[in-house]
């Protein structure tokens, strides 16, 4: 497939504005200024673009809500807090194609009548920070940011706001709290950020990849764009593939491509030709799947039918040498570490699940531990403040649904089913 989002990233100067302009960059921006803001929103709606951060919410609809709110100013925030373990898809855009993101943000801001944007970049990406700062400076210099963008009279200011190590800030309301200088704890919804967001004003939070799709939609038009991938949720999608494959990396592929194709054609198959045991399709907080779902199309509509989610499109492949109890324990250690502490079930529950998994993994599992784990997970599921708790519970339930034998084996035999685990 032709690459749109990662076009040209193999060029050594891909991050520079010169190279970007040379390959047709900022042309969509100029085209957009010839359109009415409402028409751009209509185009994004028609294109069927769904948010690439994980939830898959229709981007055009989000924009519509925000633009209908009479309050000003409005804020546009790029969510570059790519913290979901297994996910590194936005990194190539941030580090190698930053002007695509900036162009996408300026067009989006123009459509939303927003004059102020922030890129909320995770603290763990210092290199991306340097690249973005430079790119933003270049864009100001070239007149694509600032008081009079490309001579259109439209004003848009943009800066990077760097996170500092908090997974929860990937949740949009926690992210807003973090930009406002608070502990990044999720807010109560409603009201939604599109009406009451940063500093109480209408705020659109979009993922890096989502915003990078905007210039594409403007240049191609919704019609041609929606021909890419699955018609129900069209467009190119970045998949980050990791763990036990021959060629881990980020692949730009059409939405809806079967999981099998991603693993075996693009990522080179399971490493060393070993047997595939399990796949997490969308980052650590999406439930694990067994190899019998390999033909499932990777998109927002088909994966839920198979008991998981597309999430961030982070495919984690586990072969038969991997101990899934250990994976589950490590994932839970992550959730415990990242639980913000606001709500009881998540704050206390993640710790307890980790505790039980730890004793199982260490060979001290007890009879009834599986049932206890399930009970806690079900008590958390659907009862926490934000999706982090659901994610944690879903991971445990997913592993126990598909791989309870391996957990049982651990309890009974006090060792791994997978030898090298």
């Amino acid at each position: 497939m032709e690459r749109f989002l990662l076009k040209n990233i193999d060029s050594p100067d891909s991050a520079g504005i010169g190279e970007y302009l040379r390959t047709g960059g900022y042309a969509s921006l100029k085209k957009a200024f010839g359109m009415e803001p409402a028409d751009i929103i209509a185009e994004v709606k028609a294109a069927g673009l769904r948010g690439r951060g994980g939830a898959g919410f229709p981007t055009g609809m989000k924009w519509d809500f925000a633009s209908r709110d009479p309050k000003f100013p409005k804020y546009l925030i790029c969510n570059a807090d790519e913290g979901e373990p297994g996910t590194f898809k936005d990194r190539p855009i941030l580090e190698k194609n930053p002007h695509l993101l900036i162009e996408g943000m300026v067009i989006s801001a123009y459509a939303l009548k927003s004059e102020r944007g922030y890129i909320y970049l995770r603290g763990e990406y210092p290199h991306a920070r340097a690249v973005l700062d430079k790119a933003i400076a270049e864009a100001y210099e070239a007149g694509f940011l600032g008081g009079d963008v490309a001579g259109s009279g439209f004003r848009f200011d943009l800066s990077v706001h760097q996170g500092a190590g908090a997974y929860i800030c990937g949740e949009e309301t926690a992210l807003i709290d973090s930009i406002e200088g608070r502990r990044g704890q999720p807010r109560i919804k409603p009201p939604f950020p599109v009406n009451v967001g940063a500093w109480g004003k209408p705020t659109v939070v979009n993922n890096v990849e989502t915003l990078a799709n905007i210039p594409l939609i403007v240049s191609m038009g919704a019609g041609r764009y929606s021909e890419i991938g699955n018609p129900e949720c069209p467009g190119p999608k970045l998949f980050s593939v990791s763990c036990c494959v021959e060629r881990p990396g980020v692949y730009e592929l059409p939405m809806g491509i079967p999981l099998r194709e991603i693993i075996y054609e693009h990522a080179g198959g399971v490493r060393g030709g070993r047997e595939l045991k399990a796949v997490i399709p969308g980052g650590i907080s999406t439930p694990v799947l067994t190899p019998d779902v390999l033909d499932c199309p990777m998109d927002f509509v088909n994966l839920p039918k198979r008991g998981s989610m597309l999430g961030s499109g982070a495919v984690m492949v586990f072969d038969d040498t991997v101990c899934l109890v250990r994976v589950c324990w490590r994932a839970m250690r992550f959730f415990e570490h990242e639980s913000c502490g606001k709500c009881t079930p998540c704050r206390e529950g993640t710790g307890w699940m980790r505790n039980i998994l730890e004793r199982m993994e260490g060979g001290f599992g007890r009879d009834g531990d599986i049932e206890l784990l399930q009970d806690i997970a079900r008590s958390i599921m659907g009862k926490t403040f934000c999706p982090l708790g659901d994610g944690a519970a879903g991971v445990v339930l997913g592993f126990l649904r598909n791989f309870s034998d391996e957990f049982m084996y651990h309890i009974t035999n006090k060792k791994c089913l997978a030898e090298s685990g």
Partner: protein, 151 residues
């Protein structure tokens, strides 16, 4: 530029100066590698926020440090992908060579080691940051080659 001015300058990027709290914490952390009481007090005064507010925010985020760090900060990822690709063995190796446990600092003050939650480099796992330098595809063979460059 004086730190207070630098923080006030940062606050101009936000409609409310409190927005500059996270960036300001980075600014003061850069000075000594960690957030001392005085450093937090500086931020508190520059942004007109109670000290408890500043401390509460600073302790929410894992990358702000609340005790002195070594000259070089090793932030090694051991999350699932890095774990599968051998990160835990690297922790043991580092511990063996420098006597450095996760969360600790070497006696000579050269290194501090912090376990990081997913560094976003799962395709090149295991990976780490040393200060702000990114290193990936770590192995038992290359880890010390890299670390030994940091005095």
């Amino acid at each position: 530029m004086d730190i207070m001015d630098e923080i006030r300058d940062l606050s101009r990027k936000y409609p409310d100066r409190r927005g500059a709290l996270l960036p300001a914490l980075y600014v003061v952390q850069k000075e000594a590698g960690w957030l001392s009481q005085e450093a937090l007090d500086t931020v508190s005064r520059a942004l007109n926020l109670p000290q408890a507010t500043v401390k509460g925010v600073a302790t929410f985020y894992a990358m702000y440090k609340h005790r002195p760090m070594g000259r070089h900060l090793i932030q090694l990822c051991t999350n699932v992908a890095c774990m599968i690709m051998g990160a835990e063995r690297l922790v043991d190796l580092i511990s063996g060579r420098y006597g450095l446990e996760p969360g600790g600092t070497t006696d000579d003050g050269r290194f501090s080691l912090v376990i990081m939650e997913c560094i976003g480099a799962c395709d090149r796992a295991p990976a780490m940051l040393v200060d702000t330098d990114f290193h990936a595809d770590l192995t038992a063979d290359n880890i010390f080659e890299i670390l030994e460059k940091y005095e």
